[in-house]
Symmetry: C2
Subunit: 571 residues, 2 copies
Amino acid sequence: MLNIAMLPSPLDFSTSYLSTSTIVALCVFFGLLCSCIIVGHLLEENRWANESITALLLGLCSGVVVLLVTKFRSTKILIFSEDLFFLYLLPPIIFNAGFQDKKKQFFRNFITILLFGVLGTVISFCLISLGAFLLFTRIGITNLGIKDHLGETVFKSKSCISISLNIIIICPYSDLFVHITCEAIGAILSATDSVCTLQVLSQDETPLLYSIVFGEGVVNDATSIVLFNSVQTLNFSTMNAITALKLLGTFFYLFCTSTALGIIVGLLSAYIIKTLYFGRHSTDREVALMMLMAYLSYMIAELLNLSGILTIFFCGIVMSHYTWHNVTGSSRTTTKHAFATISFIAETFIFLYVGMDAFDVDKWKTSKASIGTSVAVSSTLIALVLIGRAAFVFSIANITNCTKTRESAKIEFRSQFIIWWAGLMRGAVTIALSYNQFSKSEIASTEDSALMITSTIILVLFSTVVFGSITKPLIEAVKLRQSKPAISDSTDNQEDLRLLFLESNCSINQTNHHESQSRRRSSLSLMIRHPTTTVHYFWRKFDDKFMRPVFGGRGFIPAVPGSPPAEEEIS
Amino acid sequence: MLNIAMLPSPLDFSTSYLSTSTIVALCVFFGLLCSCIIVGHLLEENRWANESITALLLGLCSGVVVLLVTKFRSTKILIFSEDLFFLYLLPPIIFNAGFQDKKKQFFRNFITILLFGVLGTVISFCLISLGAFLLFTRIGITNLGIKDHLGETVFKSKSCISISLNIIIICPYSDLFVHITCEAIGAILSATDSVCTLQVLSQDETPLLYSIVFGEGVVNDATSIVLFNSVQTLNFSTMNAITALKLLGTFFYLFCTSTALGIIVGLLSAYIIKTLYFGRHSTDREVALMMLMAYLSYMIAELLNLSGILTIFFCGIVMSHYTWHNVTGSSRTTTKHAFATISFIAETFIFLYVGMDAFDVDKWKTSKASIGTSVAVSSTLIALVLIGRAAFVFSIANITNCTKTRESAKIEFRSQFIIWWAGLMRGAVTIALSYNQFSKSEIASTEDSALMITSTIILVLFSTVVFGSITKPLIEAVKLRQSKPAISDSTDNQEDLRLLFLESNCSINQTNHHESQSRRRSSLSLMIRHPTTTVHYFWRKFDDKFMRPVFGGRGFIPAVPGSPPAEEEIS
């Protein structure tokens, strides 16, 4: 090692290929990622820690080290761009979540998830915006666009909630209106961070909660795009029921097209692999094709301004249902673990970055607010997030409970509490949006926007460390008493299915012509009594009869001779 | 799809997250990659085509389409940076080659590989530089730095070969000397493209040729770094034997440190995984750690100005020998196929890009040379590459043949021919270096440097398509007659080993004190008679006794209960 120093100017000529700063940054990052994995493994048994907190704290420590080494000049050893985040880190995480998702659980709670993702986000957003508006006028942060006369006119001319909805939607896109408003905070903080959810909730331990909170995060994405999109055509000054219906219509259009795109790409991959039968030649080709087509679906969705997250999520679901069964055993093992690994690395990377980014000296210097103000702003924001989420979680959960007849299908209070709590974590998505919003400001003062960014960082750190570490013990404490209903819930469902099969078999056995009408009536009454179970039953029939013969799937592909079976099945 | 057009200005607001051009480029690229895989699969049986030619032609076609769509404005839909190539595409390819490498074959031909990689590159470089110098002065390309007086003084003051060596080494780094010289062509074209080799030679069918040509490409990398490095300290006007020895010393220093770094990182990963026993918890962690540590080794090497390619290659070898045996069965299957898949995607990506880049309108417009001149320059360059490679392949092969006593160990003429032929392909490395060299020129005229780039593109296209497609049938034609010696070669070696074992067992059995001297003498005589086999034998003994108990390896890790065995072993 000492000899290297004797070589002539070792850092001079390396610039020919690669810039030294990039290499240093990559070295540090990959070294830290390795440490995260090792430390995370050692702390596996610890109930308070999880991988994200480890990564965050490690990032914080290395941020301090870099700060000391560079003598308080900078901690920016790698410039974190939104491109990197939205193009390369987010898609594999969401795809893997869809790919490893317990589909039955997800579709059974589909209505609830949709309500949380659409209505919940709007409620939370309105409350947080309103709260922030009241707070900032009191604290004296007046440079966030409130001074701007155009903004002010808008503010005063309408009722508060529709205003905040208006301003927040307009601000990122229209040059006519203020660029920075306190309501932007509402949009940034109302979205559930699906990456964080993956960290604190386990699909195997709490399938119901996981599917609701994570599903909410996925549907969320479409909601925000609709809000951003619609403002360009709709005139909010004439906001009425028709406009609201239009908005809802746009949301469903976007939701359906995004989902359809994901399903089409997934089915296409299944069909290609089944027809050409890649297993004959190469496992690598199958795996490569699955990876590339999944990523392609995300890119096409982004290109068409659909929700890429929804698309790649449904692409993952379809791929695990059809494509995954068409490939060889080794491809199955490889895809399952490779996707999980890539997603795991991306998640760790994100938290590591958030930790390292916390000590962004420039921002802290620019924001001249006292520590008191920073803490006050941050804690108010945290309180707003808590209230905003509580407002919609408990209300929507109770509304859906009213529609359900069976006691076991209802979301009990303990579960509601966990849904509320687990969705409180805010992470990299929040930071990325906050930078996007506040660092490009021209109208607003840099001091106040810097204060916004630092407050967001404090909020993210606090919520990840505190909410993240408490969630696991909290679930354990609740689950001890909840373990029984959770089991009975699943057996309930199986009984339901058995009942359904029996009833429908009965009607099939009675093949008299005039019995067919009664059968139809029986299906209809079943549909009304157990809607989800009935839909699932008919879906299975349709799947077995039409889909699987064309696209392949479990039991519809003959075993490849000589290839080993995959170690375990994705349920 | 039609509805999308009705949505308001769909391309306007997407810029908030991601730039549209990036998304379009990624869509096109991932779509083309998928097509490459499908077309490549369909053409699998075809003996003339291979994946690289498919990707290249598909890239060319899409280049034409983009050209027509943009009305001859640009084909640059994705800016190809050296960073992308050297940081993200090359490392996985080289790592995978080391990981799936047949280690026995590689180490048996180690001396030959070293000779080809070091001496061969220097010979080839001198010949190509000299030829290019003579050619360009005749054709009239005088603006490539030859006009520059400082350059001219250097040119005239020394003998041709040392001049060309001098100029070529100086030009990329020193501001004192000419930036662009015809000799740069020599450096660019003398390096074997290891990515191309992987495409035309099969490790299973022609293990000897594969290991020599690919190994040469890996060692090559260290050679060029040494040449670039040394010029900064050495004064070439007093070029003598001592300087040459110094150069050789620097090469071996670099070679050894790079190799050592790769081995250390590989062993570290084996030790960590063996000690902490990750399999207990997570396959994903094991796979992630292997991926990250491999990549880290490349980055550290680049940081220390060592040869990253050599480092990651040896890291791959060590990982497949130790680490791979310490992980669970599913991790083994996953790593094997995931690394191969990533490498496969990277290779296809590179060739696709080279194809798309061929119609770079700006360069073709800037280079005002007639078609005749372009073709003349390109064909001369191709001839120079042919001659340069022939000069060292046949001479070095014959020299090494002289040192070998056994007939089967010699490289026969047919094999020499294939080694010569298979190393002729030039690919993305050549293009990347050519852009690096000629597009940043300040002294040389842009016309002539554009001519250099277009000539390089023609050369790359021609060599990939023509040499690439002929290699497979050529090997088949030669192999028909060669199949017998190939088999006897491997059995020969096994007999050797058996002989060695017998001899050494004999000496172990005779445990008398004064027999030990004769044993030592017998080892020594064995070493002289069968150096490679003896080294291998002692390495195995050392490996079994010291290395495997510490770092794990085949047979030294108890089977993980409940985990399935990996489908096949890496030999």
